[in-house]
C-alpha cells in the first residue's frame, strides 16, 4: 500500500494527457528515486509556469510575457494573421518555421454536438483585430476534421466584409488529421501551398 502522498500525486499525474494510472505510478517512482535532482528541477519548472505564464491579450498564445514573444517580435509580418484552434496548433506551426506572420488562437472549434457556439470562441477578438486595420491576409489553419473545416467556413464568411486575402491550409493532409500530430515538413508544405478560400 503506497502512502497517501504518493497516491495523490499518482492520481494527479494519471489525469495528464497520454498518461494513465500505470504510467503515472512509474513516473512517481522515478521521481521519488531522484528527489534531489529531477524532482527539484520539475518543481522549479512548474513554479515558473504557475508564476509567469499568461495568455497573450492579443492572440491568446501562452507565454511569459504579455503580449507574447510572437506578437511583440518586430521582425514578424504584422499584416498576416494565422488563425488556429488551439495553442498546441500554434506551437506546431511555429516549429515548422515557415510562417512569419502572427497568430490568433480560437480556443476550440464549433461543435453543435459538444455545445461549442461561436460566442464560446475567441472570434470577437479576431474580428476586432481585423477591423482595426493593418491586416491584409488571414490564414485559416483549422484541423482537417469536420468541426475544424466547419469553423474555417464560418470564419471565412464572417471575414468576407473586410478587404482581406483569406487563405486556407492546403489540406493534402490526412482527413481527420490534427495539425499537432503532423511532422514539420508536412505542415510547411500545407502552409506553402495555402490557397484562397471560396
Amino acid at each position: 500500500m503506497a502512502s497517501q502522498e504518493i497516491e495523490t500525486l499518482a492520481s494527479a499525474l494519471a489525469r495528464l494527457p497520454g498518461l494513465g494510472p500505470r504510467s503515472a505510478r512509474r513516473v512517481v517512482l522515478w521521481l521519488v528515486k531522484r528527489r534531489e535532482t529531477a524532482l527539484l528541477q520539475l518543481l522549479a519548472a512548474l513554479e515558473q509556469v504557475r508564476d509567469r505564464l499568461v495568455e497573450c491579450r492579443i492572440c491568446g498564445n501562452v507565454d511569459t510575457q504579455n503580449p507574447c514573444g510572437i506578437c511583440a517580435d518586430p521582425r514578424r509580418d504584422q499584416t498576416s494573421v494565422c488563425v488556429v484552434e488551439d495553442v498546441a496548433d500554434l506551437w506546431a506551426l511555429d516549429r515548422a518555421k515557415l510562417y512569419t506572420g502572427r497568430y490568433h488562437v480560437l480556443g476550440g472549434k464549433l461543435s453543435a454536438m459538444d455545445g461549442v457556439r461561436p460566442e464560446d470562441l475567441n472570434i470577437g477578438s479576431l474580428l476586432e483585430r481585423v477591423a482595426s486595420g493593418g491586416i491584409d491576409e488571414v490564414v485559416l489553419a483549422m484541423n482537417a476534421t469536420l468541426e475544424g473545416q466547419t469553423t474555417a467556413h464560418y470564419l471565412a464568411e464572417r471575414l468576407e466584409e473586410y478587404p482581406l486575402r483569406i487563405t486556407q491550409l492546403a489540406h493534402g493532409l490526412p482527413v481527420g488529421g490534427e495539425l499537432d500530430y503532423l511532422d514539420e515538413g508536412t505542415l510547411a508544405q500545407a502552409l506553402r501551398a495555402r490557397r484562397p478560400v471560396g
Binding site: 464549433l110 461543435s111 453543435a112 454536438m113 461561436p118 469536420l146 468541426e147 473545416q149 466547419t150 469553423t151 474555417a152 467556413h153 464560418y154 464568411e157 464572417r158 482527413v175
Partner: protein
C-alpha cells in the same frame, strides 16, 4: 495472388487455430456453434470496417485469453512473387482499437482494401429486402467501400455533418446562418460523393447481373433511388432552401441519408420483399456474386458464404458451384455436413471444425 494460410489466436472460441494450404474452394464443416462462422468473421476483418457480424471489437477476444485477439493471413503468388503477410489484432489494454500490419509494418485498417477484396453472404442478411432502408444503405456502402476505399470517409463525414446540422436545427435558438453554411458545405461535398459512390456501385453490380441468365437463380433488378438532388451544388442549394422546413421537422429531410436501394425480381416485376424466401436468397446470391466479381478486379478476391449451399436444391447448388468455379474470387463455404458439397469435394480444401479447433480432412 491468393490467401494461402490463416491463423486465429484467442478469436472467440478459437484459442490457436491455423488453416494451411487454402485452395479456390475451402469448406468449413461442423455443427452449429463449432466455430465455422468465426473463421469467416476472422477473414472478414481483412476488409476495412467491423467484419461480417458487425461486432464490437471488444467482444471478439476469447474470454479465456489475455484480452486481445489476433488474426494473420499469408498470401502466396507466383514462385518468384514475394509472399504478403497481413495481420490485424487488438491489445488487452485497448480492446476496442483494431491495429493492422502489412508485412510486419503498421498500416491503416482502411488501407486493407488495397490488398484484398472481400465479399460475404450470411444468414443474417436474409432479411435485407424486408429490413429497414438503413440496412440497405449500409449494404450499398459496404459494396461501394469494397470497390473504392475512400467511400468510407465520405460516409463517415456525411454522417457527422448531418448530426451537427440536425442538432443545430433542433436548438431552440435560431441557428446562425454562417454556421449552417459551414456544415452544409461539408454535407454537400461529402454527401454528393457518397451518393455518387452508391449510384456507381449499384449500376456496376446491376450491369454485372444483367448479363446473367434469369435461371436458375431469380435475377434481381437494382435501382438506386436518391434521397436528395444529385450533385454538390444542387444538394447545397436544397439544404439551404429547406432550412425552415427542416427546422420545423427538427431534422434534415433531404440527402443521401434518405437513399433507398430498390430491388425487384426480373420478369415478375415484384418487389424483392414480396418474393418467396427462396427467391430472396437467390437474388442475394446473385448480388453477392456479381459484387465479388467486380471487387476482385486488380486484387485478390475472397468470397465468404455462410450456410448458403445447404438451403439450395441440387440443381441450383450445382449451378452456384459452376459459377463460383469460373469466378475470380477464392471461396470459403460453411456447412453442417459434407453432403451438399460432394460436387466440389475433390478440388476443395476441407476442414472439420469442432469446439474452436480445426482439422484438415
Amino acid at each position: 495472388m491468393a490467401l494461402d494460410a490463416i491463423t486465429l489466436s484467442h478469436f472467440r472460441n478459437h484459442r490457436e487455430t491455423r488453416l494451411d494450404g487454402a485452395r479456390q474452394f475451402n469448406l468449413l464443416v461442423g455443427e452449429n456453434g463449432a466455430g465455422k462462422t468465426n473463421v469467416l468473421e476472422a477473414i472478414s476483418l481483412f476488409a476495412p470496417g467491423r467484419g461480417l457480424r458487425r461486432a464490437a471489437l471488444a467482444e471478439i477476444a476469447g474470454a479465456a485469453g489475455p484480452g486481445g485477439f489476433s488474426v494473420g493471413a499469408s498470401l502466396a503468388g507466383q514462385p518468384d512473387e514475394e509472399a504478403l503477410r497481413l495481420g490485424t489484432y487488438t491489445k488487452a489494454a485497448q480492446p476496442g482499437r483494431r491495429l493492422v500490419q502489412v508485412n510486419g509494418t503498421p498500416a491503416s485498417a482502411v488501407g486493407l482494401g488495397e490488398w484484398l477484396a472481400i465479399s460475404w453472404l450470411t444468414p443474417a442478411m436474409d432479411r435485407l429486402f424486408a429490413d429497414s432502408a438503413g440496412a440497405r444503405r449500409r449494404f450499398m456502402d459496404r459494396m461501394a467501400l469494397a470497390l473504392d476505399p475512400a467511400h468510407a470517409r465520405h460516409a463517415a463525414r456525411y454522417e457527422n455533418a448531418l448530426r451537427e446540422r440536425n442538432r443545430l436545427l433542433s436548438d431552440d435558438r435560431p441557428p446562425e446562418a454562417a454556421w449552417l453554411d459551414g456544415i452544409e458545405a461539408q454535407m454537400a461535398q461529402h454527401g454528393a460523393l457518397l451518393a455518387q459512390g452508391r449510384a456507381r456501385t449499384v449500376a456496376a453490380v446491376g450491369q454485372e447481373i444483367a448479363v446473367l441468365p434469369e435461371q436458375p437463380f431469380a435475377r434481381p433488378v437494382l435501382v438506386y433511388a436518391a434521397g436528395g438532388p444529385a450533385g454538390q451544388d444542387a444538394f447545397a442549394a436544397a439544404l439551404k432552401s429547406g432550412r425552415g422546413r427542416d427546422r420545423a421537422a427538427r431534422r434534415s429531410l433531404v440527402g443521401p441519408h434518405r437513399d433507398e436501394l430498390e430491388v425487384t425480381m426480373a420478369g415478375k416485376n415484384v418487389p424483392a420483399a414480396s418474393c418467396s424466401t427462396g427467391e430472396q436468397k437467390a437474388m442475394l446470391i446473385a448480388i453477392t456474386l456479381a459484387h465479388a466479381q467486380l471487387a476482385a478486379r486488380g486484387r485478390p478476391g475472397l468470397l465468404l458464404l455462410d450456410e448458403v449451399a445447404a438451403h439450395l436444391d441440387p440443381f441450383r447448388r450445382a449451378s452456384l458451384f459452376e459459377r463460383l468455379r469460373s469466378g475470380r474470387a477464392q471461396v470459403w463455404l460453411t456447412g453442417t455436413e459434407l453432403g451438399p458439397f460432394a460436387e466440389i469435394r475433390a478440388e476443395a480444401a476441407v476442414w472439420q471444425v469442432s469446439g474452436g479447433q480445426v482439422e484438415r480432412v
